[in-house]
Symmetry: C2
Subunit: 403 residues, 2 copies
């Protein structure tokens, strides 16, 4: 079979066209099922047709470009919806690369490739709505009752899918693997001067609310040794958790206390209650479970030391996803050929459609650098040569996988 | 001159009458210049007249009861306005004791005593409004432009002073000393089983806002060692300040981080900014200044360690007030006679009208226990025998001072 050879300039031209839908300064406003989103998906379906791919729109607005009736092709893509104020690359870049490799495969007569733009990855209605429904992780019935923050229902919004093209089913069984290239959305590649990240997996995410309850008291008349100050609980918990995690975590594990609410939160009152969230992410679900045990043990210990009560609530858990070993190997080989010594293995700290697709087929992801790590922001950007290199690395890896 | 002898039961009866104005369950709602406050001040002026005292109302609603034209009397009192949801004793107790000792001094033919209920101690319009204006710490013009949280101006509210009685001036030069008995509003006497607190001084209060600025980042894609997490700044500052204060403070010094605001305060975002207040109180202004230096030094150090920026703002300072040595000595002697081994020296951690009056004349304060330290709350209470003992201790101290 022939080798895949892509046209990087054409990919960049498509990416720039996609940028024009919902363009806003250097950024983009293209939320799922908004006017610009529908217009961009129509444009995408047209570009697929022009390339000789057959556009298929499913009932939640995912747009696939299929190379005829082939049943054993690699699917390449991402999502083209954005955050309310999104960057121009997040998702769109992977969609443009998917379109290019699928188009080029027809031109070259190489192994067949399909492409896709998933819908509502950014969670206007629900987390990764399009890929969750397509992969059966979320039923259409459950999706339909979700609403956006303005009260618009998903059931109503997704009627617009018919404006993109004839709505039908696309069976996941047609695809042998899913590949996605995405901007890193973090600072690691940029800081280390690497140009390609080969993703080993998408981290699992655990979130839990912790509450210390003490005694709300007058900040003038309550001596220090008679206080039960809930903020002291939070502060000590924070120090101890940093120390106790040290034996368990790797340099890729992260944990964050991002939300804090004191009660009554008044200058002259000893805090009677501290609510806060802790979120922790890692590629190893076993490690995440150990960390939860340490969190509980530490909180209980601190509460005991300071005479506080402790409770936890609102636990949520998204399991970690490993990329397929065979695909990772191909990506590593391709990265070393395209960017010798200038690539590294990474975890994806953010969720992606690829995590859902991995339930159905082997999955792999590549990252390109985000300048200063900025994403979900009009300032989001990546050097053009890195965007081209990401596409070339994807094409080379496909050649390795289909050799 | 004859000895002062009081009637404790009569004092309790007056205190119960005062409680009926604005009574609400076990508590009281009697804010400055509210209907119940005006009614209670009219009642107080009547009780003064019945006792042979001459009621004087000044232009901010302070109500004095004077023993004729004497120019060398001791002034005894407190305030009878309450918090929006106040306890039955806070202020009212000291007013009832003032009325009783002034009335009894006329009956006994002992050294002359005047009594007072200051207005708006609880700060509906401004901190300790009535005593601040009377002592010249706040001009009437400045007071008049203050409003309560509903927008009612003090200028308008204080017109109601005329409903209490003929408005006139009461010269502070008529008084040789000011004495006040108050509930502790803290837990110390209750916990140690003491029945009387002799106040050495009213603490100075310093408040300052601190801000750590880091880098707001994605909680999934930002490795721990690349973060600039503003909450980590707050937590480490809290630990270090607790350690560094140890060499400077006494067991009566207090400090509180009562208000915290993180930005953006979201579960999945590394906090980019932490604003928080720190308030510290002590009887020694020099110590308070040293503590401020330590706060700044510590915050700067922590910011440097964690790669954060640090700023401080909104500094406010209320100086400490020492009670008069001669009066403290008399109170100690009286306390040991009335409650042998069951009294202790205390600071007042809360502000009182006495702090303002101390600018003009020697001042002293006594405390009685607050059950469980509760105040500014409908549950506020003190054992009746402690209320009686506080009044007896006041009377005995007056006898010592006027012997």
């Amino acid at each position: 079979m022939n080798k895949l050879q892509i046209n990087g300039e054409r990919m960049l031209a498509d990416l720039n066209s996609l940028r024009s839908f919902g363009a806003c300064g250097t950024g983009v406003k293209r939320r799922a099922f908004s006017e610009p989103d529908i217009a961009s998906r129509k444009w995408l379906a047209n570009r697929m047709s022009e390339a000789g791919l057959v556009p298929h729109v499913d009932d939640v607005g995912n747009v696939f470009g299929l190379p005829g009736d082939t049943n054993d092709c690699i699917l390449v893509g991402s999502h083209s919806d954005t955050q309310p104020e999104g960057g121009w690359l997040d998702g769109a870049y992977g969609v443009a690369v998917g379109l290019e490799v699928a188009r080029a495969s027809l031109e070259c007569g190489s192994s067949p490739i399909a492409c896709v733009s998933f819908q509502d990855e950014e969670g206007r209605f629900s987390t990764l709505t399009g890929s969750r429904v397509w992969t059966g992780q979320l039923s259409l019935g459950e999706a339909d009752i979700r609403t956006d923050t303005d009260g618009l229902g998903f059931a109503q919004a997704r009627r617009r899918a018919a404006e993109i093209g004839t709505v039908g089913k696309v069976s996941p069984e047609r695809f042998r693997a899913y590949l996605e290239v995405h901007i890193e959305q973090g600072p690691v590649l940029d800081i280390f001067g690497d140009r390609i990240g080969v993703v080993e997996g998408i981290v699992g995410i655990r979130t839990e609310k912790q509450t210390f309850i003490g005694q709300q008291n007058h900040a003038g008349t309550t001596p220090m040794d008679l206080r039960k100050d809930a903020l002291q609980g939070l502060a000590r918990f924070n120090s101890e958790i940093n120390a106790r995690f040290a034996d368990v975590v790797t340099d890729k594990t992260v944990w964050t206390i991002g939300h804090v609410a004191l009660h009554p939160n008044a200058t002259s009152v000893v805090p009677g209650k501290a609510d806060f969230t802790i979120q922790w992410r890692d590629l190893d679900d076993g490690r995440l479970d150990k960390m939860r045990a340490i969190i509980h043990e530490t909180a209980r210990h601190v509460a005991g030391q300071l005479g506080l009560e402790w409770t936890s609530s609102d636990y949520s858990s998204i399991p970690a996803t490993r990329c397929d070993d065979h695909i990772v190997k191909a990506f590593k080989k391709a990265a070393e050929l395209e960017a010798p010594g200038k690539w590294r293995l990474l975890n994806s700290g953010a969720l992606h459609d690829a995590a859902n697709v991995s339930f159905l087929m082997p999955m792999g992801m590549l990252f390109v650098p985000s300048i200063k790590g900025i994403s979900h922001n009009f300032e989001e950007d990546t050097a053009l040569e890195d965007l081209l290199l990401g596409a070339e690395t994807m094409a080379r890896a496909i050649n390795i996988l289909t050799a």
